[in-house]
Subunit: 428 residues, 2 copies
Amino acid sequence: MKITEMHVTPIAISDPPLLNAAGLHAPYALRTIVEIVADNGIYGLGEVPGSAATTAALEAAGEVVIGQDPFQLNAINAAIQQRLGPDGAANRDQTPWNPRRLTHIFSAVEVACFDLMGKAVGRPVCDLLGGRVRDRVPFSAYLFYKFKGAGGALGFGTDPNATGWAAARQKAALDPDGIVAEAQAMCDAFGFKSIKLKGGAMPPDEEADAILAMYEAFGPGTPLRLDPNAIWSMETAVRIGKRLEGVLEYYEDPVRGQEAMAEVGKAVTIPRATNMCTTSFDDIPGSVRLHSEDIILSDHHFWGGLRASIELARICRTFGRGLSMHSNSHAGISLAAMAHLAAATPNLTYACDTHYPWQSEEVIQGGRMQFDDGAIVVSGEPGLGIELDRQALAQLHEQYKACGLTARNDEVEMQKVQPGWQFMATRW
Amino acid sequence: MKITEMHVTPIAISDPPLLNAAGLHAPYALRTIVEIVADNGIYGLGEVPGSAATTAALEAAGEVVIGQDPFQLNAINAAIQQRLGPDGAANRDQTPWNPRRLTHIFSAVEVACFDLMGKAVGRPVCDLLGGRVRDRVPFSAYLFYKFKGAGGALGFGTDPNATGWAAARQKAALDPDGIVAEAQAMCDAFGFKSIKLKGGAMPPDEEADAILAMYEAFGPGTPLRLDPNAIWSMETAVRIGKRLEGVLEYYEDPVRGQEAMAEVGKAVTIPRATNMCTTSFDDIPGSVRLHSEDIILSDHHFWGGLRASIELARICRTFGRGLSMHSNSHAGISLAAMAHLAAATPNLTYACDTHYPWQSEEVIQGGRMQFDDGAIVVSGEPGLGIELDRQALAQLHEQYKACGLTARNDEVEMQKVQPGWQFMATRW
């Protein structure tokens, strides 16, 4: 089996005006869709966070992916590395969502190859990763502070005819009551049993108040997480941590860097999680030396694919780290890949993050994937168990071209609302 | 696809009177062959070091393997663990060659499942492990001090009609000249480019003399290794290490335990390798903390199978460990599995160990696998690329029953030659 075609399609999917430490989500989240076609006519799909640079790198990678056997993942990785150059400081920009180019680009190709392999041998992807340890992958409600609006051309547009979650997700959430209402609407709509609040957007005590309000509303049986995206000072992180001991399931990146995270661990008893201070295998020795976190949030898009994520899972077992899963705004190809990976990872024991409820568009046939009582039921169909909706892909590609965005920049977006607003590495 | 049968067959293969720190090889090496048959008639093969206890544990495991889908490796592992109990101190005896029961038993089943999967989907096993990074897997000449003889009923039996390596391997090797002659005969016959000497059998300076004699005979282009199996004192390890700086490629387990190995590293500049102080994922944190070795000798039989070995390879890359491969006396099923694993492991950059030239019998069709200029050419056939010779298996099973051995015990064997001989954890 040889790969004969690789199609790289940047798309833009509507995204609501969600707030975070870096600013504000643009009206569109960018993703890049990879389709690999083999000489037997079978195709496989991959999806990664998008940008013009990612599209260009994937197109360059495609030159060396064509002609390869999709089972030869090591050879494909080596060929892409030869084409793009190795990962390293020169190939790493400073945003947490677009870190190591080769790793990132390979992840998209690898997932598409797994989809292709699975279809070729008649097996779901999880069966090519050691087999399923669970049939249902629980996800977490992922709450944001937000302005009124639900994405689309302006970001702040609303649909007066929307009902259910589509109506609820248009609402503003700027205080504890708004966050609790958002949580209740999201959990009612999707059945999530764990809740994460994206923090770093409001003064820290307000965010702690929101967590405590959810604790009050949902009770101790609902795991709660808070993620200020490393924008807090040590003093703030410790003080807020003390307020939330016994309340949070985990405390995600309250401060920046492994050393600071380790210091928080000495002062606060809540388990610490990260997708910012330990984000690659290169960071693991420092993590072990410093004990910078208790839980690593994996992300196959950033750790180098599904096999690399399974290897990360072994490292977590070996060094006593818990394992959860990070998410960006994404469509169904990524959600399917995340579900297959989680299904095959024995020690992925936390509900995974997903931004999926915030998006409304889809590139897969049949439209949006459905959560069943807060979980994705892992497909038993060959490959990822999804098919590409080519018309939807074309529309979302047109939307990409029309929207004019070429990279995620939450700071610029925030400046449209609050002129002069600037990202600060430590705000509070 | 469901597993409908699992056959566990202990065999005994002739082994010469090879000397090592634990004593003397018995006339027969024990292996256990696992055959798994699926409902579509396809079968897969596995092989592990044998003993009556291993046979019993595999038979117990078979009760829960039957009925499983061979792709569901995680479920199979969980079922075996439920049947046999988890690994742990209680399930670990003190010999380095039979450490963790669940890990060991699962490795045999997992290889057989990979063989079965590969045959089912028409792919060599290495393609199910990420694909090949090399088509040829180099192996190392594995030298032993030895008495005259070539295995069989008495161990010391010789065949006056033998020619080539079969004649050479009957000879005694008890001094540097004997070791050099053995090395030359083995390298001539198989084309090996690296040479390992199993030490711990003679006074340390004699073993160093043998290494220096080989350095003289083969020149600096032939990597040399010495493995005293942890039987030396710190003083001896440092003193001999100093003699061999600039001569050895690596220094394998000169002393016992991670702490002592770390101390050697502070005094001797030769890279240190181990298959004794870091032999499981549980040992990795100590290895990292102490830097107990520079190179880990993996062994899929003891680390929990092929996927676990790939995960170990990632850990080695992550923590700057080199990776080589350990061997016991074995037949062709293990050799094929080792070759497929090595073919799919990017950072397995050392020639692998193998005892294979010392054995003469085989359970696979076509007889003994052939080395091509010191390497195994990785099969492109489905699965492991081998088929079972059922008549040979039956004969070697009869040999197992007739020989009366139920476990490896090199001390007892040595006492037959030197009454009263006792193993000493630190001899020199």
